[in-house]
Symmetry: D2
């Protein structure tokens, strides 16, 4: 393999740049050329590429987001677009591809694999909703961003004797919500994986208030309910001023944490090594500090489960 391509796709996250930098430096060390495609599969189809030398990846390690950019690409979801991408890869002499992204991106990678093109995926998704890796890129940075904001809001909550309902990301995953609840000392985490009874939540909060506690933080995953509706119920139940904050896209970005820089560096290096070892159609993942490779076909059909212990602990440490 003489030339490898790399792209980032789907929602951006901190650590993508670390993975790109590491992949490039690994390839260069092994005398392999590297090209980057801008805006994910869209740039791949268009052949919007740039040469990735040491200079191209200089100074990006500490930056959030992805300097290769990302974009939606409906065209790549159908066979025709995939063929175009394949043709472009061949035209450019690219013999293998590293795809960094979440669920949808890994499905895209799988499509290329099925066309016989060597692809290795790197899981990147702040929701931590990708199976076969303990952690996806960007999760740790997102968590630390969330906690910074929740710590700030706690200052106001305790200054004013108020309840706050804070919505964090996680359409199908309560990982961010449950971990940030534990890490911030929140009173409650509401997650999509577990049915909750709002009446029950309210009665627990009411009991706490009767015991003298005069403020509360409830963290809700975006997929688990409507934050404002939850706040209204709480207010009705306990007669307590309750405010909502939706953390939104602030969670995604910023200088990556050490964990994400290290994880990105490891993922990027391993992805290139796997391609050079002749592997393909796999996703590199973290399993007990070791890196493992799992077929994309398996990754994309397996849901990631939330650790029950985590939820039990969140409950115990909260209310």
């Amino acid at each position: 393999m003489k030339k490898i391509g790399i792209l980032t796709s789907g929602g951006d996250c901190s650590g993508m740049n670390s993975a790109i930098r590491s992949a490039v430096r690994t390839a260069l060390t092994m005398k392999v050329e590297m090209v980057g495609f801008r805006k994910g599969f869209l740039g791949l189809i268009k052949g919007d590429s740039l040469v990735m030398d040491t200079r191209a990846v200089s100074g990006i390690l500490q930056r959030g987001g992805t300097f290769l950019q990302s974009a939606r690409c409906d065209e790549f979801k159908v066979a025709d677009g995939q063929q175009k991408a394949l043709a472009k890869l061949k035209e450019l002499g690219v013999e293998g591809l590293v795809v960094i992204g979440g669920d949808g991106s890994l499905n895209g990678a799988l499509a290329l694999d099925r066309l016989g093109f060597p692809v290795i995926g790197i899981p990147a998704s702040i929701d931590n909703d990708i199976a076969f890796t303990d952690m996806a890129l960007g999760v740790d940075t997102a968590l630390n961003n969330i906690i910074y904001a929740v710590d700030c809001i706690k200052d106001t909550a305790s200054s004013h004797a108020r309840a706050f309902v804070i919505e964090v990301m996680g359409r199908n995953s309560g990982y961010l919500a449950s971990v940030s609840a534990i890490a911030s000392g929140a009173e409650y985490a509401i997650v999509p994986e577990i049915e909750y009874d709002l009446t029950d939540v309210c009665s627990q909060l009411r009991r706490r208030f009767e015991e003298g506690r005069d403020n509360a933080i409830i963290i809700v995953a975006e997929g688990a309910g409507h934050a404002q509706a939850i706040a209204d119920s709480i207010k009705d139940a306990i007669g307590f001023e309750t405010r909502v904050t939706v953390l939104g896209h602030y969670q995604r970005g910023g200088a990556p944490s050490v964990f994400d820089r290290l994880l990105g560096s490891r993922f990027g290096k391993r992805a290139v090594e796997l391609l050079l070892e002749g592997e393909k159609g796999k996703m590199v993942g973290l399993s007990c500090h070791a890196l493992v490779a799992t077929p994309l076909a398996e990754v994309t059909v397996t849901p990631k489960r939330l650790d029950d212990d985590m939820l039990r602990m969140a409950e115990m440490l909260g209310i």
Copy 2:
């Protein structure tokens, strides 16, 4: 004067604790006793007080919010409640009061002044909407919080070629919006002080996009329009994916910046000195690095104007 009271009222902000600490240490140095009232005027009416010695204010300098807590108090807005507060102050032997807060709190301070009780106010409001002080407590910390979040969101905006409409605090004041727009390199600031034409904003953004710029940040003060409506217009006008983030209460809290710690320390010290010098019914303010005292009667009726230069610069540095 042998005993001085202190309270925080209205929306909390970073730096309130610095002001409390400094007021207490100044009083103690001058052999004056200090009592704190919890939850603002509510605690004052109830006589919910604590002795403020060195230990009480130890370790609070670097904390956001106010450890004396704050609360709404409708009772204090009428004559009867004010008389109760006055009676409680006399009962406790308190001869002067320091009130830390925003507009409403300074009006409360003025009410006590009109009843003949010596009060000195300290302006604290992240909106920077209080006249006769260049900066209110909490503004600088709020700005730095905002910028941290906007920097994060810019990572995503530039990774995805998107527009973001970010709503910051400021019901009647565009200070936070205009300064944070300059400091973050945003493309546009929409503020309540200045009428804006959304068609105009959109056409400027469209021109920029046509020139090749593929992302944009628009910062909107909460009092200047509905963020989602603005985002929808932009999307319609430029056909560009546009997202909204409402920063909310995250802006208020967190460890105070150096500026707010210093300002709080200066305000707290000066407020106590003024009371001991026999001054009353005034607010301490910052004017060109010096501290000045302005009658509360004047402060509470004077609107604070936004610096036009700032807005012109925001415009020049943006679009």
Copy 3:
């Protein structure tokens, strides 16, 4: 078991408060009393204790250091002091003890175990030099502190075309140095585990400079050599202005990262559970996301090894 004691000993680190809080809340949930000893084994010998209820651990989760304080205690290193501690534990009706700290502290815990007293240890040491746990408490926060400082210094290094030698903690362990080198994109990590040839380092740096790179960051573990001497050699070899920064105690503290809050919460909970399950003389540790318990007798005689892969990657990603 009706009453459990807890103390922190040795060098403080971020996350100790999370562990204390979680241990206390776990015990209270199980209707077990908890007492804290101030200043580690010193307070234990003196019986300097406080009741640990919910209020005692309120608001400590996000604070660095340890609110129970820590101290050296030579008296506890000898049999006489250990007997005094034992007597005090019995006098107070304490039936089990949680000891949070590093190598020396775990040795202290082992001493009590050998006297037949039930003890569970929690590894806390920013050096990450404790065997039988993937990570010790405080490491992740220290790493993020280091990276924040190194990112700052890189701004100056690249602005001035200079080399910087940055000394980080780690008397016998190169963990902080090697991970922070990878995460900051440093050119070199010098660690105590691996012999290095300064001539070799210098010739590699010289080659890089000849290739056009005009600044460099070299991270040195404190146990691996004298930072100033290394800087002098580099300056002599490459004729390049070279500065030294010793990060020092700044590395230890500050608000704990999410990882350390979560790890502390898990360690604290598990330590109390182990005592209540009748376990003793063990240290709780992290192994592949699971919590394991290892005899203190084994922990204290086993050196922790640095991951070779990490060092190889540091080298590849650097020079």
Copy 4:
């Protein structure tokens, strides 16, 4: 004036990039070309320049240091080097120059002014030691960096009942030391402007310890004494474990604070405006929120005085 040059010189600081960006955008708005010189006067002599268009200054606002780089340049200190620079400016068609830097850099700017070349200086020095401006660029960011580190170290100081001597920058100026002492609640600030009696410092610390306070932070400006010697004296006097931390170059860099981004933006804009208005040989400075221009000949011979009030307050709030 059709073409303006810009360079950064001397020690780098946060906010330089904001000033560059603003100067460039202001010039472009006024249809004036802009060129940047790399590595200060060194690049000026060599003609190492780049075209400064919108793209060149994109994404630099939030970066520490200076992307134009800085360097020492002995050659420019003598007449011959200055003539070379002048010749190069004429050769490139540059008609005016903006010089961003500290004392030495402003002297360099003055030298060009004396040769009849239009120059405007912008004060940038984290020491805040430049007269005729209330604040220099970089000071506010440096202070916030210092406070972040001191807050961390306080966690350890209070966890261990220790004294810490922390050395901050400031060869001739105690500004950083005194302000950071107030803002961090330090016990003592030792500054070059004021003679101090170490015996006196120690006896005050001893009295505090006897009153029950078991930790202390002493902040020393680098020009005011040797931190280790001070620590040794304190240890001898009070028998207290005392550690030293030298914050070093960490203070200079990192993402600029809002204040520095705003100040840089204002300075950069005004510098270009002044040149276009026909002004020369002046430094733009901040005076009571307004921008003023002072002859460089005056700036470079006037020492900046430390505010006495600040020191008195530092003392009152400390011991």
